[in-house]
Symmetry: C2
Subunit: 388 residues, 2 copies
Amino acid sequence: MNTKSYAPQNELNLRIAKIQSLLNAQNIDAMIICSNANIYYTFGLVFNGYVFIPRNGHVTYFCRRPVGLTGENITYIYKPEQIAEYVTGIESIALELDIIPYSTITRLAKVFPNATIANASAIMRAARAIKTDYEQQRLRESGIKHAMAYSHIPAQFKNGMTDLELQVEIERFSRLQGCIGQFRISGESMEMFMGNLLCGENADNPTPYDFAMGGAGLDPSLPVGCNGTTIKPGMAVMVDMNGNYTGYMTDMTRVFACGELSDIAIKAHNCSRRIAAELAAMGTPGTEAKALYNRAIEIVQEEGLEDYFMGHKQKAGFIGHGVGIEINEAPVIAPKSRDILQAGNAIALEPKFVIPHVGAVGIENTYIVTETGMESITNAPEEIINLI
Amino acid sequence: MNTKSYAPQNELNLRIAKIQSLLNAQNIDAMIICSNANIYYTFGLVFNGYVFIPRNGHVTYFCRRPVGLTGENITYIYKPEQIAEYVTGIESIALELDIIPYSTITRLAKVFPNATIANASAIMRAARAIKTDYEQQRLRESGIKHAMAYSHIPAQFKNGMTDLELQVEIERFSRLQGCIGQFRISGESMEMFMGNLLCGENADNPTPYDFAMGGAGLDPSLPVGCNGTTIKPGMAVMVDMNGNYTGYMTDMTRVFACGELSDIAIKAHNCSRRIAAELAAMGTPGTEAKALYNRAIEIVQEEGLEDYFMGHKQKAGFIGHGVGIEINEAPVIAPKSRDILQAGNAIALEPKFVIPHVGAVGIENTYIVTETGMESITNAPEEIINLI
């Protein structure tokens, strides 16, 4: 280990300044962060410990592990109570109430017995929703590699394969291209391994998770995704695999077909492309997230495809979501969302359909919100590609 | 979806009875569970919702998602406040304080405004530490497949491979054999993708995580495991990959060599085997977990290998841990552990060494604690296997 900061220091300074400005706006004295995703955001490397961010002045990284980190802002401790030796006069402290366990929060709160407790989760969600230039670059790199991995899928398909067998070949290729594999999700009730490949009727199996699509999975301990279905003529194969190549994840879906698909499946796929194109053009800074959602619903109703949109037996309540270090960041593109699009948001739009017996169709791209609309960073052909 | 319970009903009844007996012993009226691992334990399938377990009487599964679960104990709700409509007269309620976020716990606590709050985490940890016959069978199945995947490693190695390239081939083979991939860990500060393959000097890179071994990883967002090192003569290749084939994970490590290893590496590997054999014989019900740890340290000191044991630059504070639905269950084999071995514990012992410049050596097996000692369920040759 060395003193190198893994993101440039000026980049980390930008992020800290953004957080400090939010602390000042809410009149909160300081924040303590201990989730891996937020530690990575503020330090550029995951470590085990606590990041102390005062409303003004310099950050302190209180580290337990790994050994060997050096730098003037790094202080080694073995328990959080030691933070009190370094920090005094705090009257209000923001902690990650929405993600950190109750026991950890109450222990941290006791370190500041006279301070009121505020919620750091919402602040960090707001800060992370607007990607810096550096973060956008990380996302673009992931997008390029993600698209490249998908371009190899037709070459990996062999007649008679199961959904799992095809997924495993995509996993292998992605990993060899540098995919980190980790699929970081905020909130411990969401779980996924390396992405979701759905084919045929399995696409209509509902899951417990709040993902756009389902699948029965291989085992009741992880009931989502491929379930061993043999890929047969007439089936759509939806590929929504892990795009984490840089610590910043893109989200991307393409559909492959085993021979001819039904007319309704093709119509729904084209409808998804139409929705994506319209929403991308609409999505300038200042646009309400719910306006994007509502417009998608209008298009779906125009085309008479409501029964299949965002699921069939079970429907998802959103059509898009922010992405970055985690797969479920702000803003959320949903009917009751109060989010407003801002320049620098990274948003995955996934207007998808489940067609009974055929499978799932539709596309997903990751976009950066710019002054002229949403720019896709997962560029690859959007047609259904025939595998046979 | 159907009414099928994914573990047999009498199995689930056994587990619930065990939890109810612990609730009664602590004089707690009821428990509410909402973590995926504990929901899976009590229902046999992960769902999104809440499991309500009274100290006596029948469980209620309050489900949000997926749609379509049916059964007399299943009640659909869309928010936790609705539980109050079904449950009354609770004066004390156990919640998963050590794993569920602060905001969720405070919201759940308000559903029972007059109840005192107890900690369900410790109760569930105790219940899950003793595996039923059915759970032992799931673990044995994982162990057989886990060992089988390892037996193919020499055939996957090619000269000039990197650690990542070899790991990816093991990932692929494991997945095709049915490995679910999911590496469930209790506590959100621990992260790992599909296991850890360490070779050469990378084994001495410390990580932020509380795993036995380290590695720099591919990216600062997940600083653990292989880092792209080319496997060269004189290096040890330690394979500690995912053994989750059934929802119940075995943990298993074997060492491969690229040509001859140094004498000290071979000595340390043999010491690990000696420790494993001695501890397995010692580990009868009633044995103190810390006694196993202390005996391991004695053996290491006898052989003069302290500098390398459980890490070199950074050392782990334990030599073994319970396994099951999650990789870090009770009991913990550590110097300050207060755990006592019980028949039915599933324990991974991993007395390992990091030898500078060579890599990591030592073995890991998963054992079931029986009246006559610990029985290994990850059976495969324990020698260092030469790859070239």
